[in-house]
């Protein structure tokens, strides 16, 4: 029986499999984990890329932010889109939730992506001390860029949605669940201090913008970008909230002198010689030959001296992680709208949202009949000889589209598709957030001196004017048309919002698709803008996630 005993012992051994607790341990080999990261300067630089990527995602994952929604809300554009589409864009255009009651989450993605970007910035900012830095300057530079991205993201979100939660460090899901709406002043305080820090420490501190710098660094936040953004925030905050300084006391003088540094200290920035050359569709014509782009163009390129700061887009994305400017697919002319796209530089196949308000066009033509910027900014069916295709399904057709940001074609199709890319995800035109022209216009506004704005006028061959608020406002409207700026200007010009309400009010006729021979009446009631204080609908899903801590904005309840 001895053998049996041995076998029994051996079996018991097999059964117990002692010392195998390590058997269940394993570590991922394709990903890093939070605990072993943020150690080296390279980690920090790549984490900063993550912050920029987070910022880019806001524009990639949703069509509306930054450009499309503000142009629709302003007096520049209508909702547009296809006759079979949902009416979410109408809801935005007319500040009226009853136009599309089921659209309760128009800005949910924007909200989510904005906070994810902010989270990345907060995460990096909270790890600054554990990184080994090569110099204080580098550290400050990284910190400045992350802070700028955070400030810009908050600024866009607070303008859009009003009272939003304020998060200044990484929070856990449990902590996040307890976040209530912050006082808007507290949000502006953070924006103010972040921008002040960035204005002193970001890239190009003590240096000039140059072509060679831009060649490899365009997109990085510079001290000039931060100073200009500070001025923009100052003007919006003081105008919209009827204040004289930013909440932490930054005065007009401080802001003006900061802007002067972008101007006077010879920052390297300046106006591009020819206005139209900043906009691909405005400065291109068709090639005889059907090449890749099929276009010949005088485009100055993305990193030109007038670009103070832009959010960059590419066509290198992969499915699930695109990096194109999604708003562009909405702005491009609707598929099948133009009888013969083949004769234009415009791309076929886009969605035709944000059709341009004819009142905006006619007013401009009255105000500044010889302004070449009209042609550079607006696709005009009539004057460009375009005709509507049979059976097009463009809603709110007005005969005008945004030309600054539109899909491009080369005669048969989108240039993107010609490059084997899907135009819906691969629109690589950058979103220029601040142009030098805006710096000049803000300087005029802050100083009451027309010399800056006359530089802008001079470029497009217009005669000098003397300074008046109305002249300045008209100049901003024309120079910066369809760039996502006008709406916020309208809101800040008069804190009672009467100015904005008057501007967006509309009564006229649009064409809703093929067969709408007589046209359809369209009315925008400016009072609706006043009712909601120009602030948009808070995403309902986020409200329901908040357990009663977040509330719907006035006018949207």
């Amino acid at each position: 029986m001895k053998i049996f005993k041995n076998i029994l012992i051996a079996t018991a051994g097999m059964l117990i499999l002692s010392g195998c607790s390590d058997f269940l341990n394993s570590d991922p080999t394709l990903t890093l984990v939070e605990t072993n990261y943020y150690r080296t300067e390279k980690d920090a630089q790549t984490a900063l890329v993550g912050c920029y990527d987070g910022l880019q995602n806001i524009f990639v994952k949703d069509d509306l932010p930054g450009l499309v929604a503000p142009t629709i809300m302003s007096d520049e554009c209508f909702g547009g889109g296809g006759t079979g589409d949902g009416k979410g864009d109408d809801l935005i255009d007319q500040f009226d939730k009853t136009l599309s009651p089921s659209d309760l989450n128009m800005y949910k993605v924007v909200y989510q992506q904005s906070y994810l970007a902010i989270y990345r910035c907060n995460m990096l900012l909270s790890k600054m001390d554990q990184v080994t830095w090569s110099s204080q300057t580098t550290r400050n530079q990284v910190e400045a860029e992350a802070k700028f991205i955070r400030a810009y993201t908050y600024f866009e979100l607070v303008k859009l949605l009003g009272k939003i939660p304020l998060v200044v460090k990484p929070v856990t899901p449990t902590e996040a669940a307890m976040l209530a709406q912050a006082n808007t002043d507290d949000i502006y305080k953070l924006i103010e201090s972040d921008l002040l820090f960035a204005a002193e420490n970001a890239q190009l501190k003590g240096a000039k913008w140059t072509d060679s710098w831009a060649k490899s660094n365009d997109g990085h936040v510079t001290v000039f970008a931060a100073k200009s953004m500070l001025a923009r925030v100052f003007l919006f905050y003081t105008g919209y909230y009827n204040k004289t300084t930013l909440p932490d006391g930054t005065t007009s003088t401080t802001v003006t002198s900061a802007l002067q540094e972008v101007y006077e200290t010879n920052s390297g920035h300046g106006l591009v010689d020819t206005y139209k050359n900043m906009w691909p569709a405005a400065c291109s014509s068709r090639n005889a030959t059907d090449t890749i782009t099929g276009l010949s163009s005088t485009y100055v390129g993305e990193a030109n001296k007038e670009t103070v700061w832009s959010v960059k887009f590419n066509s290198t994305g992969v499915w699930g992680n695109m990096d194109g400017f999604s708003g562009m697919r909405l702005l491009g002319m609707r598929s099948g709208t133009v009888k013969s796209f083949g004769t234009t530089v415009y791309g076929d196949g886009a969605w035709g949202c944000a059709t341009v308000n004819p009142k905006f066009v006619s007013t401009w033509k009255t105000e500044e009949p010889t302004d070449p910027r009209i042609v550079s900014s607006i696709i005009d069916f009539k004057s460009e000889g375009l005709t509507l295709a049979d059976k097009h399904d463009q809603r709110e057709f007005t005969g005008y589209y945004n030309k600054k940001y539109t899909c491009l074609g080369n005669g048969t199709s989108n240039i993107y598709t010609k490059q084997k890319l899907d135009f819906q995800w691969n629109e690589y035109q950058d979103f220029v957030v601040i142009r030098y022209a805006d710096v000049l216009l803000m300087l005029s506004e802050l100083t009451g001196d027309a010399k800056y704005m006359n530089e802008v006028r001079k470029r497009v061959g217009l005669v000098d004017v003397t300074y008046s608020p109305e002249a300045l406002r008209a100049e901003r409207k024309h120079e910066l048309a369809f760039e996502g700026i006008r709406y916020w200007d309208l809101l800040r010009y008069d804190y009672t919002l009467k100015y904005a309400a008057d501007a967006v009010s509309f009564s006229g006729t649009v064409t809703n698709g093929y067969g709408d021979k007589t046209g359809t009446a369209k009315v925008i009631d400016g009072q609706k803008l006043v009712d909601c204080r120009g602030i948009s609908q808070f995403p309902n899903d986020i409200i329901s996630l908040s357990n009663g801590l977040l509330f719907q904005n006035d006018g949207w309840k």
Partner: protein, 1078 residues
């Protein structure tokens, strides 16, 4: 007349049972003894089968109480030395043992087949058990029954034969998977059961040939399944493959060949009908008509009249199978081997783009050492599967079926040059003129299907080697090492084509995908049977280790040197310039390890009272250290009432057992390392620098940070999902075992789902994985069988089963108690059509507006609008343009406005009832069988059309639309918008059906051909999917497709089913085949 016979058989059976052990003991004692029997007299005789009188070959004939014996020859004859008065013990595998007293020099014995005897054995976890002692709810299907169904997948053959098991095809396309749900969906993370083939765990059994399966046992209740612990919450399917048997070696050959066709086709509008509807649509929108009243013919002459569904249909698609099997063995070794080829072409597409081929090879053997002291054996199956399939599934999959249903008939197939017409303005010539697209953007679905060519191959090797020693009697110690190795490859060729301005491929490319994975397991068990007086015990202790590892590589690149499928290899691609055209990825699969200890105690007293209990401890690498171990107990009891004195000799009740069980199982279906917060480096980048387009970029940054949605934030507190189930059951046999009844009632509560709970995005993630949520499935299952033999030539059987399941979600761990479904599933830009889970509702139910008919006239419109808040048409869904012919959406919450809040449950994809009925008879050499299965109480969500696209074709159902008062109260007027096609019960159809799944008539020539080696030569004809009784107007009511979702497993999980977006129906197949055994 046969009743007496049956009684005799049953009596004989019981006697045999009693005698068996005695005989065995005697035989064992006599081993090695040289007997000195008086062998003066010889007895000769024949052994035949009682059933058909055929001689039985290789039957053992032993003289009782001695070691003298022989086996019958090919004529069933034997000669043995025995004296008058001695008893011969005649035994043969598959037949009841018989004892015959020697009275003269010749003996004639006829043996009864041992079918469905009470001594049946069922497979349980890590062992087998007598069926009558089993106290859990299990169901067994024999391989022979599966074989008869001629399916390529064994699970499909089980449809309708297993109460409480809902089996649905995920598609009718060859080689597509089967969904098996045991006793209701228990988790939003999928409800697939655990598959164990000969003790080796595997993901599915698609690779198995029906002829290699000896039996499939399904463990339905938690008490039966709990021995598989953390993976048992959805039930366990145990497959036993055929092993060899002692005796003369046998060869079997099975083959069939069939042709498949569509059983029921959906009719789409032809050009004339389509023109009518399009015209009406335009008028309804206030647009000008397409053609003047008398100008229809002229209008139509501009276009074609293509029936797209016909164009993609593959007529008389073949299906075939050839299997050669051999098995046999001696006392020392037994073996079973087989070789098989199975193939099936799709009824859509053609052999190139929709087909399935499988080559199987199997060898099982067992070897005996030292008089049963040591047994060593192995199982090994190799399967090589080649598939190609047309696209199916969601809206954006490019499914040619959906394409065929919605592409306008106006679009011609070919242009004047015979090429596929390019539906881009000015790019094709048709009927002599330049083609102007009728519906820009729509593309020829037939061409779309044919342009791409893609084939996959899967190789699976699965098997194990085991050794079992029996150091002392009834103590068995077994160690098993099993493995599963999968190697997959896929290759795709995409040519350049342009079918419309939106459907094109500008550059040819090839993709190549390779992956392989290996799972090994090492199981050790020790079991001991012992008896203390009348108390019988079986103790089992065991341990198990399991590890999964794998790797993958994928590459895609463009510009082939020779642009065709044969040359579509990555090495033949030349693109180096455009990075966007060039994809590559590769890496290890997430590892997965598991370690387990388990035990079981079976006890019975006189086979009258039974108590079984199991316990399992599982450690899984999927969870954080500290939360790795889960513990899963079960206990069950049974009472064989018929063994009590008062029922012992009852004439009606032959067998009656009641049983009660309780147990817990787990579900660990989440990916690896979900407990860690991962930093995502992949796909996170930002390009700084100048560039006018993508080709002019400079610095490439690489970014690192915790990203938003995937991977989500880690959660160290994650635990198993648990399912707890109580079962009460009755097994009974009545009327001399002709009537069998099995009844089960259960209550299954599955809780602690692994749920991606939405969190506030301020936390840096949109969701975080947590445990929470539960669902209760309650049900009842009834199975009845009736077998009878009317005379020597005719016997018949009828069996049926029905099961009812009711599923209600308890708590859902989100703020609003809802886990929402995805939108864009019904048609492009459509809202979500289902909710994954909501308290008080079934899992994955259909969610949308209720409708109340069609607004017939302006008065009804006026009244409807007046019923809204402020009497405002803006509060209707249609808005101010609401008019007669529009749908009357119901204001469910009564707030005077039709809003999202009015959406409610409009149906559910899971049936209340599952049932099956089969019947069969044999008469002389003929046999006949019919099987059917069905469901009731479920709904199907049908959406063939893209309502955002006004030119999409309709099915002919639209001819019954509202087009004037009283014309329809179901289908709204046609419009160019989707306003009447918001997600509502308009899309909902009843899903009840009864399918006659197989009708078969066979004839066994072996009964007439007197060739001594031939025991079976059966020729048969069969119809599969012969007829389906249903009110559903789609092509197939068995819609297994749900919405594809990436579950928390990281793999694709459907959170709902029954969504018909142009579902690949199951074919109707005419089959003829032969089965040979010799």
């Amino acid at each position: 007349m046969n009743e007496k016979h049956v009684i005799q058989n049953v009596q004989r059976l019981f006697q045999n049972l009693l005698n068996e052990y005695v005989i065995l003991a005697l035989l064992l004692c006599s081993v090695g003894l040289v007997t000195a029997q008086n062998s003066e007299s010889k007895v000769s005789g024949t052994v035949t089968s009682e059933k058909d009188g055929e001689p039985l070959i290789g039957v053992s004939v032993m003289v009782k109480g001695s070691s003298v014996g022989t086996i019958t020859d090919f004529n069933g004859a034997f000669t043995v030395s025995a004296k008058s008065g001695q008893t011969l013990v005649v035994s043969y595998i598959g037949y009841l043992k018989q004892e015959v007293k020697v009275t003269g020099s010749t003996v004639k014995v006829s043996l009864n087949e041992d079918n469905k005897s009470l001594d049946e054995v069922v497979v349980i976890g890590y062992g087998v058990q007598k069926k009558k002692l089993n106290t859990g709810a299990t169901v067994q299907v024999k391989g022979d029954e599966l074989l008869k169904q001629n399916t390529t997948n064994a699970l499909q053959a089980m449809q309708g034969s297993t109460a409480g098991v809902n089996i649905t095809s995920t598609s009718g396309q060859p080689g597509k998977g089967i969904n098996v749900t045991i006793r209701g969906v228990g988790s939003i993370n999928g409800s697939n059961p655990l598959y164990i083939v000969d003790g080796v765990q595997t993901g599915n059994i698609d690779y198995l040939s029906n002829s290699d399966i000896a039996s499939i046992d399904i463990l339905k209740d938690a008490a039966s399944a709990a021995i598989y612990g953390a993976q048992a919450s959805n039930g366990v399917v145990l497959i036993t493959t055929r092993t060899g048997t002692k005796g003369a070696s046998k060869i079997s050959f099975d083959s069939y060949y069939g042709i498949q066709n569509i059983a029921k086709k959906v009719q789409t509008l032809d050009a004339s009908q389509y023109a009518l509807i399009m015209n009406e649509q335009a008028i309804n929108e206030g647009n000008s008509p397409l053609y003047p009243t008398t100008g229809k013919a002229a209008f139509l002459s501009n276009y074609d009249d293509t029936n797209w569904l016909n164009s993609i249909t593959n007529k008389n698609a073949p299906t075939y199978n050839y299997t050669l099997g051999m098995n046999g063995g001696s006392d020392a070794s037994v073996f079973s081997l087989s070789l098989g080829v199975t193939g099936q072409d799709g009824i859509f597409g053609n052999h190139k783009n929709s087909s399935y081929e499988r080559y199987n090879f199997k060898i099982n053997s067992e070897h005996n050492f030292y008089n049963n002291f040591l047994k060593v054996g192995q199982h090994l199956t190799f399967a090589y599967t080649k598939t190609s399939g047309i696209n199916e599934g969601g809206l954006y999959s490019g499914s040619p079926i959906r394409g065929a249903l919605s592409t306008s008939p106006f679009l011609p197939m070919y242009d004047d040059n015979g090429a596929y017409l390019n539906n881009t303005a000015g790019k094709s010539t048709y009927k002599g003129s330049t083609w102007t697209p009728w519906s820009p953007g729509e593309a020829n679905p037939y061409a779309l299907m044919n342009e791409k060519e893609s084939h996959s191959a899967y190789q699976k090797t699965i098997g194990d080697i085991y050794a079992e020693i029996q150091p002392i009697k009834n103590l068995k110690i077994k160690t098993t090492f099993g493995l599963e190795y999968n190697s997959n490859s896929e290759r795709t060729f995409m040519p350049v084509y342009q079918l419309s301005s939106l459907t094109y491929n500008n550059v040819d490319y090839a993709t190549q995908r390779l992956s392989n994975n290996l799972t090994w397991n090492w199981d050790n068990t020790a079991s001991y049977d012992f008896k203390i007086n009348e108390h019988a015990f079986t103790v089992l202790l065991g341990s198990s280790m399991r590890k999964y590892q794998g790797e993958f590589l994928y590459s895609k690149n463009a510009n082939l040197t020779i642009a065709d499928y044969n040359h579509a290899w990555i090495s033949n691609t030349t693109n180096t310039a455009t990075s966007a055209l060039w994809e590559y990825t590769g890496g290890p699969d997430d590892e997965s390890m598991m370690m387990s200890y388990f035990g079981r105690l079976n006890y019975n007293y006189k086979e009258k009272y039974m108590l079984n209990t199991t316990f399992r401890a599982d450690g899984s690498s999927h969870f954080a250290p500290g939360n790795r171990w889960g513990y899963f107990p079960s206990v069950s009891a049974g009472w064989v009432v018929s063994n009590e004195d008062f029922l012992l000799n009852n004439n009606t009740v032959d067998f009656l057992k009641v049983r009660l069980s309780w147990g817990q199982g787990g579900n660990q279906n989440i990916g690896a390392w979900k407990y860690l917060s991962k930093i995502n480096t992949a796909n996170t980048y930002y390009y700084y620098g100048n560039g006018t387009n993508s080709n002019n970029l400079s610095t490439i940054g690489s970014s690192i940070n915790v990203t938003g949605s995937y991977p989500s934030l880690g959660n160290e507190t994650l635990l198993w999902e648990t399912s707890e189930q109580t079962n009460f059951g009755i097994d009974a046999k009545f009327l001399k075992s002709r009537l069998g009844i099995t009844l089960d009632l259960y209550n299954k509560n599955s809780k602690d789902w692994l749920v991606d709970a939405p969190v506030r995005p301020e936390s840096g993630a949109s969701t975080v994985l947590i445990n929470g949520g539960d669902v209760t499935n309650k049900g009842i299952e009834l199975a009845l069988t009736w077998n009878d033999k009317l005379n020597k030539d005719f016997s018949y059987n009828v069996s049926g089963n029905i099961s009812y399941n009711n599923s209600v979600v308890g708590n859902v761990p989100t703020a609003d108690g809802i886990i929402a479904g995805n939108s864009n599933e019904a048609y492009a830009n459509a809202a979500a059509l289902y909710r994954k889970a909501q308290s008080g509702y079934p899992i994955g139910y259909f969610w949308g507006y209720k409708t109340d008919g069609i607004l017939q006239n302006s008065t009804e419109v006026k009244n409807y609008v007046a019923s809204m808040k402020n009497g405002s048409a803006n509060n209707t869904l249609q808005g101010r343009n609401i008019t007669s012919g529009d749908v009357r959406y119901v204001d469910v919450n009564g707030d005077g406005a039709i809003t999202e809040a009015d959406k409610t449950m409009i149906g559910k994809p899971t049936p209340d009832f599952n049932f099956g009925l089969s019947l069969g008879f044999t008469w002389k050499a003929f046999d006949f069988s019919l099987t059917s299965n069905g469901v009731a109480g479920n709904e199907i969500f049908q959406s063939y059309r893209d309502y955002g696209n006004k030119s999409a074709n309709y099915t002919t159902a639209i001819l019954g639309r509202w087009h004037g008062e009283g014309t329809s109260n179901e289908l709204p007027r046609v419009t160019e918008t989707n306003i009447n096609y918001q997600i509502s019960d308009i899309f909902i159809h009843k899903g009840d059906f009864l399918r006659i799944s197989n009708i078969q008539i066979g004839y066994d020539f072996a009964k007439n051909i007197k060739w001594k080696y031939l025991s079976q030569f059966r020729w048969y004809v069969a119809v599969q999917n012969a007829y389906t009784f249903t009110s559903y107007d789609g092509m197939d009511p068995e819609v297994g497709y749900g919405t594809a979702d990436t579950g928390n497993t990281g793999s694709s999980v459907s959170s709902t089913s029954g969504v018909d977006l142009g579902y690949y129906p199951r074919p109707r197949t005419f089959i003829t085949g032969v089965s040979l055994k010799f």
